[in-house]
């Protein structure tokens, strides 16, 4: 469209098209540059300074990589990083496998049943972290909580749940799981619905078992969805914050602190060391960006369409 035989006229047209296009883009660029790109740049710059609550208005100095070096000597950061890895390593395979199972169980059901289940599993996402966490916190309560009531009713001893260093992280992972499977299920239902049905029928005519049909035909064709699900779950798990802030505040004794939570605590609760917290943010962003790069590579390689 852009190339014509009359270069002079096309240049004028092109310039006009460019100006008009940027006018269309203007509102979006205003918010994007103003409130996404600018803070991103500010964050990266601050991570190389000793900026904190006291010197934020008087001016801070460049300290080069000091914040980054400090990170790897900070035992709480290392503990938080370890917890983050545990959450990601446990949550991603379980969420992916489980949502695939639910997706394949419901995608051929009657449309009303399919919508019902899709909706039920999506509800915790819609309800929002706060409402979800306050009710879980009540259920985990060691005196008035439902779980301990059931355990006691069966003759057992009540557990400490979120107040125990050993169990708290697993409570977080359980809630994270219930708030994470909604979107993958929607994606799997739609991907499985798009699997070429003639292939499945041909295989069945040839006497393939259900397991073979799944493994040889469906699994390869939903592969892009599986990778996408794995990546978005990874990103969400890395950023797990609201659940922790509301349920345990990182405790007891930092056993549920993650990088995202520790960053928040440093920046807003304890030392208010902005430079140090931003360095954590940059590290987290780099790790997540590596996974996202993988996502876009995969998505450009083959699509479900």
């Amino acid at each position: 469209m852009a190339t014509t035989n009359a270069p002079k006229r096309s240049l004028v047209l092109q310039r006009r098209e460019t100006i008009i296009s940027y006018l269309f883009l203007l509102p979006a660029l205003f918010f994007f540059v103003g409130f996404v790109l600018t803070p991103m740049a500010m964050g990266v710059i601050t991570s190389f300074t000793n900026s904190n609550f006291n010197n934020v208005n008087t001016g801070s100095q460049f300290v080069f990589l000091d914040n980054y070096i400090r990170l790897f000597k900070d035992p709480i950061f290392l503990k938080s990083a370890w917890n983050t890895v545990v959450i990601v390593v446990v949550a991603v395979p379980t969420v992916t496998a489980f949502s695939l199972w639910v997706g394949s169980a419901i995608y051929r059901m009657h449309s009303a049943a399919r919508s019902f289940f899709r909706c039920v599993f999506y509800l915790p996402v819609v309800t929002g972290s706060v409402a979800v966490v306050v009710v879980w916190k009540w259920m985990f309560d060691k005196y008035n909580g439902l779980f301990n009531y059931i355990i006691r009713a069966m003759g057992g001893q009540g557990l400490m749940w979120t107040e125990s260093e050993k169990m708290a992280l697993w409570c977080i992972i359980l809630i994270l799981f219930t708030t994470s499977i909604g979107q993958p299920i929607v994606l799997y239902v739609s991907a499985l619905g798009n699997v070429d049905h003639s292939l499945v029928e041909a295989a069945q005519v040839d006497g393939a078992t259900d397991f073979q049909v799944f493994w040889k035909i469906k699994w390869p064709s939903i592969m892009p969805t599986t990778l996408y699900v794995a990546v978005i779950t990874t990103i969400n798990s890395f950023q797990c914050f609201a659940l922790i802030q509301l349920l345990t505040s990182g405790g007891p004794n930092y056993s549920t602190s993650t990088v995202m939570y520790y960053l928040y605590e440093i920046a807003f609760r304890t030392t208010k060391d902005f430079g140090y917290a931003d360095a954590m943010g940059v590290i987290l962003a780099i790790v997540i960006a590596l996974f996202s790069a993988l996502q876009f590579k995969v998505m450009n390689g083959g699509t479900t369409e």
């Binding site: 460019t18 991103m40 599993f121 819609v126 979800v132 306050v134 994606l187 920046a267 876009f296």
Partner: protein
């Protein structure tokens, strides 16, 4: 999907498991709603007594306590909790309107126009989308305080709205939908002498309308649940959202579960109703955003 499900033992087991899981997923919601109307004696579990699965009496006492603190808005006296609900609705509606407006224009231009810098602008949007939203929280707070937005209640409310609108997912989604506008139609409108704005309004807009529907519901729910951003921006009690208000109640009166459940019900029920009404668009938005990554 044309093939009918056969009733096999495997199917029966799956169905039973699914129903059990559905109950497990619905239960917290049930516990919020029933908890909000339970009397204190029903909430506290005494040794040797059975759990009140169903409230013995319906009592509005929790809501009365929740609505006790009063505030003013536009000269109107109202409970603080209702003000919080208003703030949540306001943030979600304004963020939704601004996002739909800016993203549909930008998505249309990126999909249907050839201009200088197009590839660069688009890759900027895509790259930013891949980065985690939450790591910009600290610099964002500093930026908003430099702009003096967080000094007032209304200012801080807009400090929550702007970053939500700036998030590039909407532009990306609308570009996907705009690819489906036939170029021949745009060409025909141009030959008929329609201006750029008229072409967009009369030709493009009707075609991308389902996309705008998906984006609207998506943004509404996202803005409603954008808890970390609300947490750092909204410090004044009259600027809080319902989610933030409930989180505050939980830390101040951690043992008054009746009151907290009343708040949680007030936070959860409206958004669930919105979701159920527009569910169709929502599913479309999720799958559309994923298909091409």
């Amino acid at each position: 999907m044309s093939k009918k499900q056969k009733i096999t033992p495997y199917f029966v087991i799956t169905a039973i498991l699914l129903i059990a899981l559905a109950i497990f997923f619905l239960f917290p919601l049930y516990w919020i709603v029933t908890g909000s109307v339970k009397e204190k004696s029903d909430i506290i579990i005494k040794a040797g007594e059975s759990v009140k699965w169903i409230p013995t009496t319906v009592s509005w006492d929790n809501f009365t306590r929740l609505f006790k603190t009063q505030t003013e808005l536009f000269g109107l006296k109202m409970p603080l909790a209702i003000r919080w609900l208003f703030n949540s609705v306001f943030i979600s509606v304004v963020a939704m309107a601004l996002t739909c407006f800016s993203a549909s224009l930008a998505g249309y231009a990126l999909a249907k126009k050839r201009f200088w810098g197009r590839g660069f602008v688009f890759s900027l949007f895509v790259c930013a989308m891949a980065l985690p939203k939450q790591v910009i929280l600290i610099p964002l707070l500093r930026e908003m305080s430099l702009l003096h937005l967080i000094d007032t209640a209304w200012g801080s409310i807009f400090a929550v709205i702007f970053p939500v609108v700036g998030w590039p997912f909407g532009v990306f989604l609308m570009k996907q939908f705009s690819e489906g506008i036939p170029s021949s139609l745009l060409e025909a409108a141009r030959i008929d002498g329609a201006g750029e704005v008229k072409t967009f309004m009369n030709v493009a807009l009707p075609i991308i309308q389902p996309g705008i529907g998906a984006l609207a519901i998506f943004t509404f729910i996202n803005a409603w649940n954008e808890y970390p951003l609300q947490l750092i921006m909204l410090s004044k009690s009259e600027a809080k959202t319902i989610a933030l208000g409930i989180a505050g109640l939980q830390s101040e009166m951690s043992n008054d579960y009746g009151l907290i459940m009343a708040g949680a019900a007030l936070a959860a029920v409206p958004i669930i109703i919105v979701f159920l009404c527009f569910q169709k668009y929502f599913t479309q938005g999720i799958t559309m955003g994923a298909v091409k990554g």
